[in-house]
Symmetry: D3
Subunit: 278 residues, 6 copies
């Protein structure tokens, strides 16, 4: 991703940790001329994401550090297999360590959770997609981590596509008036998706027409019926209660997309650490 | 917490979701003069945190919205029990919804995970403490969520206390030179804590003196022995492999603090939603 | 539009004019307790746009000023017909005057240029659309001015839809490989448009499929032929050499959209001034 | 101009176009390792301005791009004569293209409009000067473009000189009290100019004394009479209704400066494009 | 002064003191519902400046605090005479106290130092002026404090007038070429001042002409001779070694301005404190 | 100190001086291709501080300037002994001069004032410490200058330690309830200090226990008695009326720390200038 988009996030993360006075422990304890050779090493297997952002934390503190990528973002990584090496002045390496790892562990956690779900539905045409339930401030990095984990991205925000949710439908007085207003306002490069909760609603939507539909909390038999009704006239996304266990049955219904908020909002961090290399 | 400290985070979260053009769906579908009465409702039990930040998202979009807190941060909440009500113009309510919930669900997740761990060691003197393994950009909110969940806060950053980690010890050539350098540099209101991995190291530390020690990855028998060795001369924190299952045995050893990165970096979001109230 | 999106632009505009020391003329010459009743009055007819931004300049300098809208954005305005009244302390009114008018005159200029072009093709189904050739820093306001002038918006930026231009086609080795790569990468709510310069290229595009096509610099007979070829399978945008004179013939070919960079990058400012009201 | 002053403008312009996700078309369609050799080429003759800012857009996206200036800012340029070459990685070149051209075309438009007016009064002592009717956010760049087009700069903002306008005079109760208050408050390096609408007012001003006078909307005979009255005691600026057609007669009256808002607020963009070089 | 110009300074000052976690002492020790009635009271006599900025610190923390000005900026204040009262919630008052006082004491120190120097030359026509030797970040507030202390302002920065210093003269090859280049480049509202170190240089300057001269480090007899040479053709500023003791003799030479860096860069803070009122 | 922490301060200082248009004198008078060799030279003896920040001002304007440190921060410097050399393009050197010197002279002033006080108590165990009475916006640089002058740092802000002042004690209803609340709320790495005004209060504090005490405005005999009472159970800081004259007697009482607001809020700037080197 373009450095210009990531750098403000990494700078803010460093600033939050440095506070006013910087790393008072390292400044006191580690000699200014000490050198270090360190490696970032997974403590558990998973999928790597966020290495650019993590290494930028070191670089922003000291542009003379040597940074070496050993594994590409998106790769499956194994316990103990170093993903990057950092060498140079010891002080900035230790000062940036936590900021770098906080970014890397969270983003690799998102990629790993996505990968796990994507693997569960392998062989089906459906793709895992994310939602806007991302960590405030980290959306573009988490969206990228989803792609690196084998998922696809949904909207990036409120302004790049129309997604008519249940509350919008309620305020508009039904799916048909909601869709009509949306179409009138939408620019020619704006797609429209609408949430439907029942097959009756779906019927209305299909008559009116929509680029995509979001089938929320339907069980597999209902989803299957919906897929038949749509018959290729709209992209179909299924959401609600998606786990590694439930995903295969959902995928088997023939939907195009299975969305999960959990891959971003509840993915446990992937454990990676910084080791000094002898 | 002081509004001045939270507002930039909420503004940035809104900006990230609004993008350039704002909420094109709501602008198109919901009439500008439509009114809404909505409630924030838990979809699962837990501990509430982040309500100030969440409500600020609504207020920043439209200062004329009526915002009513029904439950205080830190309270245990039950499925279906509304925690706040928002009423007024429908457009800003729907536009702010996701930003508000992203903040609220994550922070309540942190509080709930902390509460769960704190409950597990009830009856022991030990307290659960957090680490610096927080979400980049959200540290002060997550630290508060830990307190609301019954935990205590560790350092807020690199500059408000000295924590000498294993890598610092390695670069300094041992715990004793590390501690001596730290004491020389530390201001009179700066406390010093040092990580020790063995009882032999602990012995050295106790001879040299330190405000607190961090015992990393020791099993309960070793921790118990360490507690005896320290004999009140330092605050004792145990870390490593802390879960609801392992925490009681660790607490039973008599340590003062049990730290967990997981309560911040891997807490699943607590599910809360926005419901339109009839 | 949401205040949160406009306010930073107006603050920056004020800051640019105030410099370090503020309005040294007004501070010296106008008594602090002087009151003023002023009106914003067009010096030429046109279409109003930017009144929110303009009035915000006054409000940000002094929130106690009384601001009264007399005409809504988007309305046609006549020479001498006041569009807003400002009353209160004279100093902030005179200090904000130029910033407010700079915003208002430019945005009304964009709306008026759009209206003029839109009027020229009235009766045809084609709509006037803008481009990304907007003033750096003012895009969202200029996009809104286009809508207020009767036009429609194209993409807001590089990230909300795919527009494959001639240079992309050249780098990809043709329209077909370009379209295939685009479709593989595009999220399910991302539309794709491609520029074609010849009917042969258009044929290829139609075979491969694309949400929209941009026919650049084609004369009306060629455009008409293109419309027949497309036969409703894609949205058709015509661009190049669009003026009040050429637009009707282009619209008569049956294209859906006629795009003009000139309505944003070369629209002369609409002349409005601030008059003291007796 | 000092890079520190321009860079924030260019960064903001890029950010506005990149949005959250960056250039999704280029990322999808153009291979990451593709190289490009491109040239910026005028599509019409004019005066070049803004090349520093335009090239900075490319450099900020990718500092490894080779940027070669072929023409200096301020030069007259001809259709088809390349003004700069950019070579290197194709993705950042295409991503920065529109931001770079938006800056370059607007600023060259300002320079060209100024040049056109300056040429019209060649042979007279009068100089063309700009006003504060500039594009919000771009003032320093537009002021420089005016100089590059052969014009001179008026005030940069409200704080670097005193310009007493008609509204100030009205609030102060006449030109004499206005001037007296201004002189009392002005620092010793602050010049004072005052707008006069009649020769009677001018008489009063000359008696009281002022560094400069602004004669607004006077016809050439009146201007000529004013020049005689001033007799070198103040710098004389004429404003109002200045066009290529009216300027020579105004200049012939012997005024020192002829100011035009139109050279900044209504200059059509000069058309330049980015061509791939074989 | 305009609030918009001061607020960023006060916000930054508060942020610097609050750090990440805010005022942990007050939050712990003072009950949230405690009320306070406090007064800002001088511990020594002097001239008040900065009360707007100081009170803004309280207001930004809690807009419900009641703030009452008892003395106007610029007034002479006596030991023990309250200058403002603050009442309301105790926590924000104690949290903002130091930030408010840091601003108030420094700015009152500047005003008091200026007043002291201005009093020393009372009866002479000369005025005390400040320089650009101000505290980084506080220039506009310190410039205002100088005015409040009875001084006048010099340039606010590098861009609002030309001051040709000795180093410029050296690089230009003498005062005459320096002045000629300056006049060619200066806009019609830009004044020019030049530093001269000898009467021979002054002679050259007077022949060439300059709005003002800066006579650096000349003794009173030389200054007197210079005043005679200038004979009203330029404003005369004397600088160098200006103290309460030397100023009267300098003023007696007939110079117009006596500049002092010390009134901003070395003014001791005026001691004011916050007292709880019974 | 970490560059990331200082750079925003230096950028803001430059921006404040450059204004909109930059250094119009240097741009006009000094040829763009002129080279300069300059030295920063003390005009009086003292202790150097702030050289990093000062040199950064030059570097930020022109990264091609050659910057050579001749003296290290913290060193005692003599009149006329160059502390740094700058060579390269003349324009940026002259443009950055004042910003660089404003930072350097202020910070060296703080270091020198600290050194003077520290020298006065040499031979005693007491150390000079600073307070939070620093210049808004410059705290971290002034805290560093204190260390460079031989002093030690107190808290950096409101959030890195608890300091219970007299007003807190008043609101809490006495030192004992204040201390108890503080201890309950304090994290395990947060130290607590409390201000006491009488020996009776000190007695209470010692019974309750506190990491440190602040003895405000006590005379040496009382301080001596307090030192005996404390008997090593708390760090002792004395404050109030500390000058070069009073400090030795205070130090002789056996206190650990002597705090002075004056070394930051009232230190006269140390005079250093920029000389062109032949």
């Amino acid at each position: 991703m373009i450095r210009l988009l990531i750098e403000p996030i990494v700078r803010a993360a460093l600033a939050e940790d440095l506070g006013r006075a910087g790393d008072i422990t390292t400044d006191a304890v580690v000699p200014p001329d000490a050198r270090i050779e360190a490696a970032i090493v997974p403590r558990q297997p998973g999928v790597l994401a966020g290495l650019d952002a993590a290494l930028m934390a070191f670089e922003l503190l000291d542009s003379s550090l040597a940074l070496q990528r050993l594994v590409a973002d998106g790769a499956r990584i194994e316990l103990g297999q170093a993903v990057a090496r950092i060498s140079g002045s010891a002080q900035p390496v230790l000062t940036a360590e936590r900021t770098a790892l906080n970014l890397l562990c969270r983003l690799s956690g998102v990629a790993s959770a996505t990968r796990s779900l994507a693997d569960a539905i392998e062989g089906h045409k459906a793709k895992i997609v994310c939602t806007r339930k991302t960590t405030p401030g980290l959306r573009i990095l988490e969206k990228e981590a989803v792609r690196l984990g084998g998922g696809a991205n949904h909207r990036f925000g409120l302004d790049d596509a129309m997604l008519i949710k249940d509350n919008h439908v309620a305020m508009a007085g039904g799916v048909v008036p909601a869709l009509r207003r949306a179409k009138t306002a939408a620019g020619h490069l704006v797609k429209i998706q609408i949430e439907v909760d029942t097959l009756a609603q779906l019927e209305e939507v299909l008559t009116e027409g929509s680029d995509a539909v979001l089938l929320d909390n339907m069980d597999p038999p209902t989803l299957r019926r919906a897929v038949e009704m749509v018959a290729g006239r709209a992209i179909i996304e299924a959401s609600g209660g998606v786990t590694r266990e439930t995903a295969p049955a959902i995928a088997a219904t023939g939907v195009d997309l299975i969305s999960s908020g959990g891959i971003t909002h509840s993915a446990p961090a992937l454990d990676l650490g910084l080791d000094i290399v002898e």
